[in-house]
C-alpha cells in the first residue's frame, strides 16, 4: 500500500457473538480528512479503536505507512505514539494540570526534556487559545476546554494521523463550536484525520470523504456533496433523513 497513510483490508472484530466489524476496507491518503457517520452501534468507535490496536482485530490487516501494525505480537508502543486519538470523554489525567497532561508522554516516551519541550507545549496551548488555562487542573476547565487540552495532549506526540471518536458528543451545544474550530485549524494545517462524528454540517463542510457505516460495514462512501445530497443506498438515505430532519 504505497501511497496511503493508513490502509485497512477486510478488518473484522467481534465481541463474543456480537460482530461489530464485518469486513472494513478503507484507504486514507496523507492530509486527507475522512468523516465516519452512522447510528450509535454501527461500529464507528470500534473501528477507530481497532486502528490504533487498542482492540486487537480478529481478521484483516491494518497498514500504517505500509507497515502491518495489526500483526500479532508487534510492540505497539512505537505504533501508538504515531497515531493520536481523542475520546468522547476527554480522559484527561485529573491529578495533573493541563500542562502536565501534555508533557507526560513526550517526556516518558520521546525522552524530550526541559525548556525545549515546555516551549513546544506552550506554543500548542497558545495556538489553540488555551495559554491562560495551562496551569489549571481538568476539574477547573469547561468540557470544551478539557477536550481541547486532550487534542493538544495528542498533538504533543507529533502524530502522523489523528483519530477523533465523537469528541463533541458529550459537550453542551454552546461548547461544540470551540472544539470544531480546533479541528478546522488542524485541517488547514494538513493533518491526516479520521473522525467518527454526529456533526453532519461539519462533515459536509470540511470532509474530503464521508463514509456511512451501518451494521459493521461501510455501506456507502464518497465526497460529502454526493453523500448528503444524493445518497445512492437506501440505508444511507433513511439514516440521513432521520438525522437531518428539521427539528422543531
Amino acid at each position: 500500500m504505497p501511497e496511503a497513510k493508513l490502509s485497512l483490508r477486510g478488518v473484522k472484530k467481534s465481541f463474543d457473538a456480537n460482530h461489530v466489524l464485518r469486513g472494513i476496507d478503507l484507504e486514507v491518503a496523507p492530509g486527507e480528512m475522512i468523516c465516519l457517520i452512522g447510528a450509535s452501534g454501527s461500529g464507528k468507535s470500534t473501528l477507530l479503536r481497532c486502528i490504533n490496536q487498542l482492540e486487537p482485530i480478529d481478521e484483516g490487516t491494518v497498514w500504517l505507512d505500509g507497515q502491518d501494525i495489526s500483526e500479532p505480537g508487534l510492540d505497539l508502543g512505537p505504533v501508538r505514539r504515531r497515531i493520536g486519538i481523542v475520546f468522547q470523554s476527554y480522559n484527561l489525567f485529573p491529578h495533573m494540570t493541563a500542562l502536565e497532561n501534555v508533557l507526560l508522554a513526550p517526556r516518558r516516551v520521546l525522552n524530550e526534556q526541559g525548556q525545549g519541550l515546555e516551549k513546544r507545549a506552550t506554543a500548542l496551548f497558545e495556538r489553540f487559545g488555551l495559554a491562560q488555562h495551562m496551569r489549571k487542573y481538568p476539574d477547573q476547565l469547561s468540557g470544551g476546554q478539557q477536550q481541547r487540552v486532550a487534542v493538544i495532549r495528542a498533538l504533543a506526540m507529533r502524530p502522523e494521523i489523528m483519530l477523533f471518536d465523537e469528541i463533541t458528543a458529550a459537550l453542551d451545544p454552546e461548547l461544540v463550536g470551540e472544539v470544531l474550530a480546533v479541528l478546522r485549524q488542524l485541517r488547514e494545517e494538513g493533518m491526516t484525520m479520521l473522525l467518527a462524528t454526529h456533526e453532519m454540517g461539519f462533515a459536509r463542510e470540511l470532509a474530503d470523504r464521508v463514509c456511512f457505516m451501518d451494521g459493521g460495514v461501510i455501506v456507502e462512501e464518497g465526497p460529502p456533496e454526493q453523500i448528503f445530497s444524493a445518497p445512492r443506498v437506501a440505508r444511507t438515505q433513511s439514516f440521513l433523513r432521520s438525522v437531518l430532519r428539521p427539528t422543531l
Binding site: 508502543g77 475520546f87 480522559n91 507526560l104 516518558r108 487542573y137 495528542a154
Partner: protein, 269 residues
Amino acid sequence: MNRRQAYEAAQRRRSLTVAGISTLAVVAAVFLLVPLAPGWPAVRASFFDGQVFAETFPTLLRAFLIDVMIFAWSVPLILGLGLAIALARGARAPALFPLRIFGAVYVDIFRGVPVVLTIYLIGFGVPGLGLPRPWNSPYIWGTVALVLTYSAYVAEVLRSGIESVHASQRNAAICLGLTERDTMRYVILPQAIRRVVPANMNMLVALQKDVALLSFIGPVEILRQAGIYKSLLANFTPYVVAAVIFLLVTVPATRYADYLLNRDRDARS
C-alpha cells in the same frame, strides 16, 4: 435582611438552642447519675485518682515515646511493603505468576491471624532460634510482626484503589504510547493512592494503638509501664492516663489528615 434570610437566621438560632440544651442535659445526666451508682466511690478511687494521675503522667508520657518510635519506623516499611504486595497481586506477566500467588497467600495469612498472635509467634519464635544480640531484640521482631500484618491490610486497600481508577485512564495513557509500567507509575498509582488516603489513615490510627501490643513480648512502652504502675500502686489510674495520652495523639492526627485531604481536593476543583 430579606424574608428568606430572616427565616434562616431564626432557624439557625433555634437549632443552636436545641443542640445546646440537649447536650447540657446529657452531660448533666452523666455527671449526676453515674456518681449515684453503688460502686462509684470505689471506681473513682481506683481509676480517677488525681494524685496517681499527676505522679505517673510524666513517666508514662516518656514510655509513650517508645510507641511513637516503633510507629515511626514501622510506617514507611508498611507502606513500602504494602505497595509491593499490591503491585505483585496485580502483575499480569506470566513470569510473575508466582509473585501473584505469593501476594494472595500473604494477604490471606496475615489478614486471617489476629495481630496479637502474629506478635507472639514471631516475637517469641524467631529469637528462639538462638540469634545473637542485637538480632534477638523484641523491638525488631515485634516491628516485623506489625509490618507483616499491616502491610497485608494496606496492600488490599491499595489494590482496591488501583482497581477503582477507570479503565479509560489506562487506555488514554496506553494510546499516548506509555508503557504499562509508566502508566501504572504516573497515571494509575497517583490517583489510586489519593483515593485510599482516608482508608489508610484509619489503618495508621489503628496501628498507633496496636503498637501497645508489643508490650506482651517485652518492650517497656506505655501499656507495660502502666501495668507496672498498676501493680506498684494498686491503682488503675495509670491505664486511664495511658488512654488519655493515646487520645492526645490520635485525635489531632486524624483531624489533621482530614484537613490535608480537604485542602488537596479544594485545590483541584
